[in-house]
């Protein structure tokens, strides 16, 4: 009897390890995560406007229907990325996500402080390889470091009233993201 209880305890302990391993491993095996969903409908390193979320068409769950949303799915393998976006009159934001959906940086129009949100996205390695003098001239350029080579940038513009949706879409239409090389 004691023997079986010991086996049971061993099993429970091992189960804890199995649990932690699967939780940590899961993001790497997910086939329905945001990146995989966007892979099919967005080209790399270009801005794609998403259709408005509606009851019968869900691209990503829990999208805010008050916003016009555009995606730049990036791949930094060929070099750093330049992003620019004219801000709308209401509220505009740019959020950065890793390949696995971790939000690592977000900025809104007020924090950017200008009519155009402009920034350079690069990997940590590309940042360290940047020539020193270029770093100085880049003082007025915002540089964001991506933890992963691929990822997602979400560009959003708020339509405070449904009638202002065209204005929000127009602001997003100014969005550009391209690799420098």
């Amino acid at each position: 009897m004691t023997r079986w209880i010991l086996w049971l305890l061993g099993g429970v302990l091992l189960g804890g390890i199995v649990h932690l391993t699967t939780v940590l491993w899961l993001p790497r095996t997910a086939t329905q995560d945001a990146y995989s969903r966007l892979l099919a409908i967005t080209p790399a390193n270009a801005v794609t406007t998403l259709p408005d979320p509606s009851p019968d068409k869900v691209i990503l769950p829990y999208m805010d229907p008050a916003f016009a949303t555009a995606i730049c799915r990036y791949d930094l393998a060929s070099g750093p990325l330049q992003l620019s976006l004219n801000v709308s009159q209401a509220y505009t934001s740019v959020s950065f996500y890793t390949r696995f959906g971790t939000a690592y940086y977000a900025i809104n129009d007020r924090a950017a402080g200008r009519r155009v949100i402009q920034l350079d996205l690069m990997t940590v390695q590309q940042r360290s390889e940047m020539p020193q003098e270029e770093d100085v001239t880049a003082a007025d350029r915002l540089i964001v470091e991506s933890p992963t080579v691929t990822g997602i940038i979400v560009l959003k513009a708020l339509a405070p009233e449904p009638g202002l949706m065209p204005m929000a879409r127009e602001a997003l239409a100014s969005g550009r993201c391209k690799t420098q090389s």
Binding site: V18, H19, P55, P61, A66
Partner: protein
């Protein structure tokens, strides 16, 4: 032989316990660092690089992109102030004020994060389009039948989730209580 049976038994227990716990935590959406104010709960840390492994797994499974902390904070409500599950066949009142933010939006989703179809094609309100009282507070009636004022239709679905998103707000990881961030009350009314 005993050793073989014993280890097989232990492995079976391990698989059952380990996978069962994983399934359970993902199905209930467990995450650390919750900020609960009334019926509303936010996970500001989920919008930062310091996101915990459970929230990361939930995000990978559902395919959502959490709102980044530099953008805003999302508060979720699945039940009313008394802890009863929100029912789309009943009337529910949302009353009060919201924490400081440049804009906020309130949106109704089904439990899978889809918008709910309804006759007037309204899925939520923004801070600019809502009708307010003289003191700046507001009242929203959430229910299946059309109402005067701020009516948010439920389309008669059984369960739904309300999401209040604050954009450009000081509310975040450091927020602890309702005094810093006053959230509107959620009160269930008649049910027919």
């Amino acid at each position: 032989m005993r050793l073989l049976f014993g280890s097989l038994f232990a492995f079976a227990v391990a698989a059952l316990v380990g996978l069962g716990m994983t399934w359970l935590t993902l199905a209930t959406g467990t995450a650390f660092g919750a900020v609960s104010i009334g019926a509303w709960t936010a996970w500001p840390k989920t919008g930062t690089p310091g996101i915990d492994p459970y929230a990361r797994a939930v995000i990978a499974r559902t395919g959502q992109l959490p709102i980044g902390i530099g953008d805003g904070v999302a508060f979720y409500a699945h039940s009313d102030d008394k802890g009863r599950r929100l029912d789309g066949r009943c009337d529910v009142d949302i009353q009060g004020v919201t924490p400081t933010a440049r804009f906020w939006t309130l949106t109704l989703y089904d439990p899978d994060g889809r918008l709910v179809a309804n006759s007037v094609n309204r899925q939520g309100f923004t801070s600019q389009e809502i009708l307010r009282d003289m003191d700046g507070s507001f009242a929203i009636r959430v229910g299946p039948r059309a109402r005067f004022g701020n009516w948010l239709p439920t389309g008669g679905v059984e369960h739904y989730t309300l999401v209040l998103r604050l954009y450009d707000t000081p509310v975040g990881v450091a927020t602890r209580s309702g005094r810093e961030a006053p959230m509107p009350s959620i009160t269930a009314q008649d049910c027919r």
